[in-house]
């Protein structure tokens, strides 16, 4: 396992928390939310392959 991945995935790791004041977010949750936004934006902008034309 890549050392960076194993660090993030370590079961006994205390976790990485980002934010300021009352706003705190765990790194894993932040990644999930960012990936969702990325998927949404990609779905909007990526060209969709044109389907097969039926005769």
């Amino acid at each position: 396992m890549h050392p960076l991945i194993s660090y993030f995935a370590a079961q006994d790791s205390p976790g990485i928390y980002l934010g300021f004041g009352a706003f705190q977010i765990q790194l894993g949750n932040l990644i999930v939310i960012l990936v969702m936004i990325l998927l949404f934006v990609l779905a909007l902008f990526l060209p969709f392959p044109s389907g097969k034309k039926r005769p």
Partner: protein, 227 residues
């Protein structure tokens, strides 16, 4: 051809039992070509349309991994490497289920996909989202580890304040087990099935402000097939 003549040439089957009437209703509203279509309107051309299927497929993986976990009991994954892997599959399929479902929800909102008699489709979709949240919560309580202990302790307050903590007791593993492996999966499955059937019955919502004069409807669009 008048209606009377049409009746003569195409005899309509008479439905006189509950069963027959139900069949007639289903055949009328959900004919086989709507249930299992071979084509879709030409405007169904965006990656945003794949996330509903992504959620359904994630649900398949949730159910399969969940069945394996339940066959072995809640303590299995603590002691078996394979069990721990199946537990990971269960967790990640849930994460993907929610991710795809939420992107699907965003997409449908911005398409105002409830238009044209599709209100119930939207409502059942929201129902699937909300019931899934409860189902996932009970799953977190079944981890039988430190996380589930704490969630049981912390989660009880909101439920007790709502007056349902006595019947939905988060510290009662037996009760939560029943909710998580029987009642809530049935509820999620039923709502999702209804949602998908409604989608097939009503078809994919046309673009906002689509009009009969548009190239795709007036026959001037030569780039796609016409029905």
């Amino acid at each position: 051809m008048s209606i009377r003549e049409e009746r003569k040439t195409e005899p309509v089957e008479e439905y006189y039992t509950w069963t027959g009437k139900a069949r007639g209703w289903l055949l009328k509203h959900l004919p086989a070509d709507k249930l299992l279509p071979q084509d879709q309107p030409s405007y169904v051309a965006s990656w945003i349309y794949v996330f509903g299927m992504g959620a359904i497929v994630s649900l398949v993986f949730i159910v399969v991994s969940g069945v394996v976990l339940s066959l072995n009991g809640p303590a299995w994954y603590h002691v078996s490497d394979f069990g721990h892997f199946v537990n990971s599959v269960h967790l990640w399929s849930v994460e993907l289920f929610f991710m795809t479902m939420v992107v699907h929800l965003w997409g449908k909102y911005w398409m105002a996909a409830w238009r044209g008699g599709r209100t119930l489709t939207w409502i059942t979709g929201m129902g699937a989202f909300l019931v899934s949240i409860v189902a996932a919560f009970t799953g977190y309580l079944l981890q039988t580890n430190f996380d589930s202990q704490w969630i049981a302790f912390e989660g009880k307050d909101a439920l007790n304040a709502s007056g349902i903590g006595a019947w939905f007791n988060v510290a009662n593993l037996g009760q939560i087990f029943g909710f998580h492996i029987v009642l809530l999966p049935l509820a999620v499955g039923a709502v999702v099935a209804l949602h998908v059937i409604l989608v097939r019955m009503h078809g994919v919502v046309p673009p906002i402000d689509a009009a009969e004069t548009d190239a795709q409807l007036s026959g001037t669009d030569r780039t796609e097939a016409t029905r």
